[in-house]
């Protein structure tokens, strides 16, 4: 009997989690006429017109591409810099590493709004306003505390003796990093990469402030600023939302083991 209660509870949790997304999916498939009226909850005559409209009429395809480039670029950069730093903090025992880690964690608490104005001025002054490069650098920089923290935890999980063995077997510190530590920290790289990618893909404030046109504008900005002076095109917004969400949701579900590793790494052990 308690089992039944548990099943019901879990079903409720799953329904609660998925309902808004499912509703948006259903909405995106309803023709305009059906959008205005309820009760038809399910689309009576499902249509792809909203998807077509958004990809053809609006520059949504460009936005998706920009998001992809910015997120992928930031992920690559954050992984390289983060794993190098994490390795050093975990295995090379530099002086002041406890303080460094504490500082890194503190940096991740920074409210983005606090740095938006100076970054805007800096980016404009260097001619990088409305460029993807600016986004890649800013996203990587903001994801770096997380990346460094996670990679430090994951490298700590690799036994010290493997590093010592690699050094004695003829590797320099960098050689040991590349040939032994990195291969063994692959799950950590995947977990960190996923978290950084999702963060970068979803990021809004910097994209809003540092871009101005489809040259660099990303999907979240597109979704938020959907034209709606008189008629709010809910169908297209729904379609855009589904398209905007699909990549990150699919990644999260496909790699959920790794995502969970990343989310809980260090937080539980402290």
């Amino acid at each position: 009997m308690r089992r039944l209660g548990l099943w019901a509870g879990l079903a409720a949790v799953m329904a609660w989690s998925l309902a808004p997304f499912v509703w948006q999916l259903l909405t995106s498939l309803k023709p305009v006429a059906e959008l205005e009226a309820l009760p038809p909850l399910l689309p009576g005559s499902p249509t792809l017109e909203h998807y077509r409209a958004i990809l053809a009429g609006e520059p949504f395809g460009w936005l998706m591409l920009n998001s992809l480039v910015a997120a992928a670029g930031a992920t690559a950069l954050a992984l390289v810099l983060g794993s190098l730093a994490g390795f050093a903090l975990a295995k090379l025992r530099p002086p002041g590493r406890a303080a460094t880690l504490a500082a890194v964690v503190t940096l991740s608490m920074l409210p983005p709004i606090a740095t938006v104005s100076p970054l805007f001025l800096m980016v404009s002054a260097t001619g990088l306003h409305d460029t993807l490069i600016a986004l890649v650098l800013v996203y990587a920089g903001f994801a770096l505390p997380l990346a460094v923290w996670l990679m430090t935890q994951f490298f700590r999980g690799v036994p010290d003796e493997l590093y010592i063995a690699a050094r004695v077997d003829g590797c320099s510190a960098l050689g040991a990093f590349v040939r032994v530590m990195l291969p063994l920290a692959t799950p950590g790289l995947v977990a960190t990469g996923l978290l950084v990618f999702i963060f970068a893909w979803n990021e809004f404030l910097f994209a809003l402030s540092l871009t101005a046109s489809t040259a660099a504008r990303t999907v979240p900005v597109g979704i938020a600023l959907f034209p709606g002076l008189h008629e709010v095109p809910w169908g297209e917004i729904a379609a855009g939302s589904v398209l905007a969400t699909a990549p990150v949701v699919l990644l999260a579900i496909a790699f959920q083991r790794r995502v969970l590793d990343g989310l809980t790494a260090g937080a539980v052990k402290g």
């Binding site: 949790v13 989690s17 937080a267």
Partner: protein, 282 residues
């Protein structure tokens, strides 16, 4: 072997450089900006603490601070409670665990602005499914009584998964033997929960609370899309206010002062939690 002391420098330098450029330098710069008057069509001028004096008497600032505090307190409290409930349920899930994990990761993975748009659609007074299911005609986002709570509800929906996952990991770290010992000692499920689970879970609860508090304090995306700060600044949080001053009024000086105020709030919260954590560990 002095060389060994610095062998870590080249590994740390690139990350440090990027962090300096993107984080440290802007942080210093924003403090400098807050001491200036900097608007378009005017040369920047140093005015010392004038912006902060203006801030102290700015009713809209205090309103934003109150909204932010209320939003933070309510969402963090709800997320902790619901997150714990979800974690306790999922901990017993057994074979369906993968399925449940996948489902609860969805809200976390969705971009905040997208989920805000989803909820905006659900909150729609005429065509929204929420009013339909409740048989009501509430103007969720346009009514000052409801707007902030509507935003809180969306944030809770989106962020509970993260809390639940952290707490779940914490639960899995509690040795089963403790529960067996409690059962042998005649403890009921509730007593076991209060006497065994909660105390051992406290460090993780605090960590989750810190993360969520910091995130809630800097809420921007959700409010921007749902209400834009309205109605009548009823949902205007610190970030929204600062953004408007910066990018709509283009008053970089005062906007930076607001941003620095936000920094101070975040720092205060972090310090408070740090002390709690240290006391907890001691």
């Amino acid at each position: 072997m002095k060389a060994a002391r610095f062998e870590s420098a080249p590994f740390l330098a690139p990350a440090a450089a990027l962090l300096a450029v993107v984080t440290a330098v802007p942080m210093a710069y924003v403090v400098w900006l807050s001491l200036e008057v900097r608007t378009p069509f005017r040369a920047p001028a140093f005015v010392g603490l004038d912006n902060y004096l203006r801030l102290a008497s700015d009713g809209r600032f205090w309103n934003a601070l109150w909204n932010t505090a209320y939003f933070t307190a309510a969402s963090v409290a709800l997320e902790l409670v619901l997150g714990l409930a979800v974690a306790l349920a999922v901990a017993r899930a057994g074979r369906t665990r993968a399925l449940v994990y996948g489902a609860i990761l969805v809200p976390w993975a969705i971009p905040t602005v997208v989920s805000a748009r989803m909820w905006e659609w659900m909150y729609n007074p005429e065509t929204g499914v929420l009013n339909y299911l409740l048989g009501a005609r509430v103007n969720w986002l346009g009514d000052p009584t409801w707007a902030l709570h509507a935003a809180i509800a969306m944030d809770v929906w989106k962020s509970t998964p993260f809390v639940a996952l952290l707490l779940l990991a914490g639960l899995q770290g509690i040795p089963r033997d403790l529960y067996r010992a409690a059962a042998t000692d005649g403890a009921s499920a509730w007593t076991a929960f209060v006497r065994v689970t909660l105390p051992l879970l406290m460090p993780v609860i605090l960590v989750a609370a810190v993360f969520r508090t910091i995130d809630a304090l800097r809420v921007f995306d959700a409010v921007y899309v749902l209400t834009g700060g309205g109605p009548a600044n009823g949902t205007e949080t610190l970030s929204i206010y600062a953004y408007k001053v910066l990018f709509q009024t283009l008053d970089f000086g005062y906007g930076s002062a607001l941003a620095v105020a936000m920094l101070a709030v975040a720092a205060a919260a972090t310090l408070a939690y740090a002390r709690l954590l240290r006391e907890g560990a001691a």
